[in-house]
């Protein structure tokens, strides 16, 4: 299928969706217009509100807060995940002893921690960073652990035959291998950092996108909720495409990644 056809089909899906929404909420076919608009708002209202928000200054303050929390959760979570991933992968005993606890901690639904974090770190950004951290940490940890354990034995034997010492093996073999695994989960871990931030804000804060949506919900402002969700979606797509760019740059050596040079 060519690009133009695909794109037009994708646009078609959006138009049909908006059209149905429009018909349902602006005609009396499905009941009282006031009632349906109270529950579902209308596409025109949502788009107008979104436009108004995006052209105003206020939303960027909240986006800035959410972005800060996301980035901090991702950076701190990744750093800790890499450190412990390496430590556990290189130390059998440590991995064996902590295995059940790691599994138990990872099995815990992180949302239940949000109130505890709010209690410990206050209602500012750090309770949200902590929530994002608990999500990002485990993804990165498991991937780095796997990456170090699953270094090709041949590549490792070859590197050792080339005379590399432990430090050189780390730099040229273990580290790049672990990073590969980490980058392959980059989309998931960045996504989870954002989930942590938004959920944290939603459950208790005074700023951020999650807060904006929660604020609209508490006054039954459905238009505000949908508009907040739309802005969140745009924000996520933007972040995701930045991640894709970074990924293509870093994993240029992988088959199927990026384009190969002329043959």
């Amino acid at each position: 299928m060519n690009r133009v056809k695909l794109l037009s089909l994708q646009v078609l899906v959006m138009i049909v969706f908006l059209a149905i929404w429009h018909v349902v909420t602006t005609t009396s076919l499905f009941g009282d217009i006031k009632t349906t608009q109270f529950f579902f708002s209308t596409p025109a209202d949502v788009l107008a509100r979104t436009w108004k928000q995006l052209t105003g200054a206020d939303i960027y303050y909240h986006l800035g807060i959410t972005l800060t929390e996301t980035v901090l959760a991702f950076v701190i979570g990744s750093a800790a995940g890499i450190f412990f991933g390496f430590a556990f992968a290189r130390n059998e005993l440590l991995a064996a002893v902590f295995d059940p606890y790691i599994k138990a901690a990872n099995a815990l639904p992180r949302v239940v921690l949000a109130p505890i974090f709010a209690l410990w770190f206050g209602l500012g950004i750090w309770s949200k960073v902590a929530l994002g951290f608990t999500l990002v940490f485990f993804i990165v940890f498991f991937n780095v652990y796997q990456g170090v354990r699953e270094v090709s034995p041949t590549v490792l034997a070859n590197a050792r035959m080339l005379g590399m010492n432990e430090r050189q093996l780390f730099r040229h073999v273990y580290w790049p291998s672990a990073l590969t695994w980490m980058f392959s989960s980059l989309h998931t871990s960045v996504g989870f950092a954002l989930v942590g931030a938004v959920v944290g804000e939603y459950l208790g804060s005074s700023a951020g996108l999650g807060y904006k949506i929660h604020e609209a919900e508490s006054v039954f402002d459905v238009t505000g909720v949908f508009s907040g969700m739309l802005i969140l979606a745009i924000f996520v797509i933007l972040i995701d495409s930045i991640v894709t760019l970074v990924e293509n740059r870093l994993l240029v050596w992988r088959p199927g990644q990026s384009s190969t040079t002329t043959t």
Binding site: V155, A157, N158, R160, M161, L162, M164, H172, W253, T261
Partner: protein, 289 residues
């Protein structure tokens, strides 16, 4: 071979020592579940400096295991490995190893893969860069230095691996079916390239293969191993062919056919044994001729 080994304590005769000497090597693997598998038993093999020795045998006979023992990648359960008369402990620092599987670091370009081989030797970056480019040129990859391994063909990856091994100038070269995964034409080209590079400064070379024709065309000596388990050496042939050789053409010579017939006579028995045991999933190539 025994007569070549100088008496203990005779330091002056270090040059006379075999580059690699395996004496009474047994290798037993402890498998999961407590069972054991004895791969090789009572192996005696000496390779002189400058000698090109091929090891042939049925699939699964422990040829690679033997090579790993010479490399120090695994420790024999019994017997002694000596390198230039010195008992080997740990990795064999004087040897280079060419693996059957892809052993290049996939996250490094061809150039970086070759350069990194010089890092443990403390060569400066600029110097390493220069030498790595030179070596990639020698193996015919001047135009491919910036390619990552996945952008190279199987034969090109082997060339990079060859450059990576040879740039360190090891005194002993160990090769484990290095051209096994390649197609027939590429194998011949690689064989000629190997002979060309090797003949410049003739290092001791142990070449493991299951291709008898390849073994004869390349080597000074062909060692035949028995079928595993507990494989040993059944025969040791000198190859009376003059150098320099061209791998494609040497196969047409009468002397080649004679030595091939002789070696195949002893190898065939082992291959059939391996088949009977269900081990010989892969025919020894060159058997039909």
């Amino acid at each position: 071979m025994e007569s070549k080994v100088s008496p203990p304590g005779d330091r002056g005769a270090a040059e006379e020592q075999p580059a690699v000497r395996l004496a009474g090597i047994d290798i037993t693997f402890h498998l999961k579940g407590g069972s054991r598998y004895q791969a090789v038993k009572g192996i005696d093999l000496a390779v002189a400096p400058g000698e090109f020795v091929s090891v042939v045998g049925p699939t699964g006979c422990g040829k690679s295991t033997l090579l790993n023992a010479a490399a120090g990648l695994l420790t024999p359960s019994a017997g002694k490995v000596s390198i230039f008369g010195q008992p080997l402990s740990g990795l064999n620092r004087r040897a280079g190893y060419l693996f059957q599987q892809d052993a290049l670091m996939p996250w490094k370009t061809a150039l970086d893969n070759v350069k990194v081989a010089l890092e443990p030797m403390g060569v400066s970056d600029a110097e390493a860069d220069k030498r790595a480019r030179d070596w990639l040129g020698r193996v015919g990859l001047r135009a491919f230095v910036e390619r990552y391994p996945h952008m190279l063909s199987g034969g090109q990856r082997k060339r990079v691996a060859l450059a990576q091994m040879l740039i360190r100038d090891p005194e002993i070269l160990l090769m484990d079916e290095p051209f096994g995964p390649l197609d027939a034409q590429t194998r011949q080209i690689m064989g000629n390239l190997l002979l060309d590079l090797w003949s410049r400064d003739r290092k001791a070379l142990i070449f493991v293969t299951h291709d008898l024709e390849e073994a004869i065309a390349l080597s000074d000596r062909v060692v035949v191993m028995t079928a595993g388990p507990a494989a040993g050496i059944v025969a040791d042939y000198k190859v009376p062919l003059a150098r320099p050789r061209d791998i494609a053409e040497i196969r047409l010579e009468k002397a080649f056919h004679e030595i091939h017939r002789d070696i195949w006579a002893s190898l065939r028995v082992e291959v059939q044994k391996a088949y009977a045991m269900g081990e010989g999933r892969e025919l020894v190539e060159g058997a039909a001729s």
